[in-house]
């Protein structure tokens, strides 16, 4: 408990110091609970998520960093490896390939990479996975872009 708190505090300080280091990621710690974090990440360019801003929720276990944080999308996203309803993410480094040397920042980077390179063969969102697997890249991209516009972009008034 103490170790994880200390480590999270270090990460917090690092985030404060290097706020502008990675403009695509904005990590925010909950005001009252250091085990709850949220992140805003920008959809990578040249993907259907470009221009969108996606919100992630981190729930960090007490054994962190020996165990990985639990991360899910709060913003709706159409992606083969993200559950359409719950926002759960299927990513190896969040499961068995976790290493305690990873940080919340590096998890965000890994998620951005996953958005740019979906793995349609282990889908959490089957509709999305099937579109890609059947080679309908256009269909996939327009669906993903539509949901990006609907959910991840500021509403035009």
């Amino acid at each position: 408990m103490q170790a994880s708190r200390a480590r999270l505090f270090k990460e917090y300080k690092e985030v404060q110091r290097e706020k502008s280091a990675d403009p695509d990621i904005q990590l925010v710690c909950d005001d009252s609970n250091i085990f709850k974090w949220t992140a805003l990440i920008k959809g990578p360019s040249e993907t259907p998520y470009e221009g969108g801003v996606f919100q992630l929720a981190f729930a960090i276990p007490e054994q962190y960093p020996l165990l990985p944080p639990q991360v899910r999308f709060l913003t709706k996203i159409f992606h083969p490896n993200v559950h359409f309803k719950t926002g759960e993410i299927c990513l190896d480094i969040l499961k068995n390939a976790w290493s305690p040397a990873w940080t919340l920042q590096s998890v965000c980077r890994a998620i951005i990479a996953l958005m740019a390179h979906p793995e349609p063969d282990s889908p959490l969102n089957c509709d999305s996975g099937n579109l890609l697997r059947s080679g309908d890249v256009r269909g996939f991209q327009s669906m993903a872009r539509m949901y990006t516009r609907l959910a991840a972009m500021p509403k035009k008034t």
């Binding site: 200390a6 054994q63 305690p100």
Partner: protein, 599 residues
């Protein structure tokens, strides 16, 4: 000794023993002599019943039972060997061996073929990289700074603090046997973290767990060893590959098949056992039963079993459809004019036109196959429970009865081993007998001669075993209850030991005959081969003969005759042998005179 004669001796005893006993008189004055006789008797029994079994054991000893200590010892030996040959550290040898499933030769082969590649896949660095040479280093997990000499690293030189290492190793160990493949926490580094790191940093509890996983891996990943599957047993069995029978007997006295780890199942092969066990558990039998004994409601399609009453069926709520059981038509169309409540004219006429043939036939077939299966299963299960009972009896015998008997008969317990032997034999026979029912179930329906021969052998085995069981159970009782003359007891000893060895021989031959697929009984399809077939047949009936019971004796004679005539058949064309009952018939007969089957 001819066991058959022995049998007769044993049988004749009851009438002779009194006479003998009185002629000898009470043994008060001849105690020494009697003791001698007793010893001699024991030696004789020993030779007769123990030697063959130890012979068999010697032949079958193609496996070794290992306890925890043996396992660790062997593992340590293998690690030392690889470590010496490859000049690497012991923990490195351990990582290597685990990766190649503890095969020393495979490690050597791979290593000498492409050392660089092996090192890369397993995560062993050739050069030990030191930690960065600074006074203070940052731990890669907690990001704190510590003096260099309090940090530790794998040979890759990535520094982590002691408590983070400890947590990292502990998490991995508590996550399961995957801890044996632990790598450096740095995600870009694949360097192995081995036994030495675990031993120097983990808590005692974790170290023990790790050692246990290591031992388990040695048994489970190794192609030559398996755990004994008996509940609670901690032995492992090492098997010498390609050395005959897979049946092994663990030191805990549980016998199992090393190949499929089901309980020992000779004479049936592993595939048949798997099918049989699947069949016993399979839902398919339920389906068969439903198919055979029920009809679906014509409206809601739920299966209905008719176990009593008339043909007017009302389906259970909420359906409540009323229909005729026979023709499955709505009951509104039935009544007196269609034959009343117990018949259905519409059904009868439609049946005559053949409208129901297909579904009726399917139902009938399902019923037959179900009955056939039930027949074999019941007998299989009955022998199973008999065996369990015999095991319990054997326990009771060893726990108390032997001691009691030893007191009553003034015999040292060491000389009562023949009783334990008899019970062990009973247990073994029940096991074999049980599996013969699975064998019978899968024996091809069309191989009529084989089937009959099989059933004959099985029947003989059953009655032989029954006799032994009777003797070991009921007759023993007499000697438990009261003091009896020594002579009587010695006779009992001879009889039981004789029966044990006779039964053992019979069952051993039975197993061999069944394992060879009863190949010596085949339809006499080729006249040319018939001579040879007849020879092996006669040899098989001879080899089985020692176990033949008294009741089987006349039949043994019959079999011998028929095989003799069988061997002469090649020369004499004026007779033919029935495939079904092996009786010889004159050529003029087109049907067998014994069983009336067509030639």
């Amino acid at each position: 000794m001819d066991p058959e004669e022995d049998m007769h001796d044993a049988r004749g005893e009851s009438s002779q023993e009194e006479e003998d006993f009185y002629s000898e008189g009470y043994p008060s004055d001849g105690e020494d002599e009697d003791d001698d006789g007793d010893d001699a008797g024991y030696d004789f029994v020993d030779n007769d019943s123990d030697d063959p079994s130890t012979d068999v054991r010697r032949l079958q000893q193609n496996y070794t039972t290992l306890n925890e200590e043996n396992i660790s010892q062997r593992q340590a030996d293998d690690i030392n060997r690889v470590s010496t040959v490859l000049s690497i550290k012991r923990w490195e040898a351990c990582v290597l061996l685990r990766h190649y499933n503890w095969s020393v030769s495979k490690v050597h082969d791979e290593w000498f073929a492409d050392e660089e590649n092996v090192r890369k896949t397993v995560g062993l660095l050739e050069k030990h990289i030191e930690m960065p040479n600074k006074r203070e280093l940052t731990c890669g997990i907690c990001f704190e700074n510590y003096p260099r000499d309090t940090m530790k690293a794998s040979p890759c030189g990535h520094p982590f603090c002691f408590s983070c290492w400890r947590g990292y190793i502990s998490t991995s160990i508590n996550d399961g046997p995957g801890c044996l493949m632990l790598r450096c926490p740095d995600p870009t580094c694949r360097a192995a973290v081995g036994l030495d790191m675990v031993d120097s940093m983990a808590s005692r509890e974790d170290r023990e767990k790790y050692a246990r996983y290591l031992r388990r891996s040695y048994v489970e990943d190794n192609r030559k060893t398996k755990w004994c599957p008996a509940p609670g047993c901690e032995y492992a069995v090492e098997f010498v590959m390609g050395s005959g029978s897979y049946d092994v007997c663990c030191k805990c006295s549980y016998s199992f098949c090393w190949n499929c780890t089901e309980e020992a199942h000779r004479p049936v092969d592993c595939g048949t056992v798997a099918r049989w066990i699947l069949k016993n558990s399979a839902e398919s039998e339920n389906m068969n039963w439903i198919l055979a004994n029920s009809k679906p409601c014509p409206k809601c399609k739920r299966p209905i079993e008719k176990n009593q009453g008339c043909m007017h069926i009302t389906c259970t709520p909420p359906c409540k459809f009323e229909f005729c059981w026979l023709c499955l038509g709505p009951w509104t169309e039935h009544g007196e004019r269609t034959g009343g409540f117990y018949a259905c004219n519409r059904y009868e006429s439609a049946k005559q036109e053949g409208a129901y043939d297909e579904s009726e036939r399917r139902r009938e077939m399902a019923k037959n196959s179900l009955e056939r299966y039930t027949h074999y299963y019941e007998r299989w299960a009955a022998n199973q429970s008999s065996r369990q009972k015999a095991l319990t009896d054997l326990q009771a015998l060893q726990n108390e009865k032997l001691e009691k008997l030893s007191d009553r008969q003034s015999q040292p317990e060491s000389q009562l081993k023949f009783i334990t032997d008899a019970w062990l034999q009973i247990v073994e026979c029940r096991r074999v007998l049980k599996w013969t029912y699975a064998y019978g179930f899968y024996l091809h329906e069309n191989e009529h001669a084989k089937r009959q021969f099989f059933e004959y052998l099985q029947g003989e085995a059953e009655s032989g075993l029954e006799r032994l069981h009777q003797c070991a159970e009921k007759e023993l009782q007499v000697y438990l209850e009261a003091e009896t003359p020594l002579k009587d007891f010695n006779d009992f000893r001879t009889k039981l030991a004789g029966l044990t060895s006779v039964t053992r021989n019979y069952f051993e031959n039975l197993v061999r005959a069944l394992e060879s697929g009863l190949n010596d009984v085949g339809p006499s399809n080729s006249q040319a081969g018939s001579n040879q077939a007849a020879c092996s047949k006669s040899s098989s009936s001879k080899s089985l003969a020692p176990g033949k019971s008294k009741s089987g004796k006349s039949r043994t004679g019959g079999a011998a005759t028929s095989s003799r005539s069988g061997s002469s058949r090649g020369m004499d064309d004026s007779i033919w042998t029935c495939d079904s009952c092996t009786c010889t018939n004159p050529k003029s007969n087109s049907h067998c005179q014994a069983c009336d089957r067509h030639r």
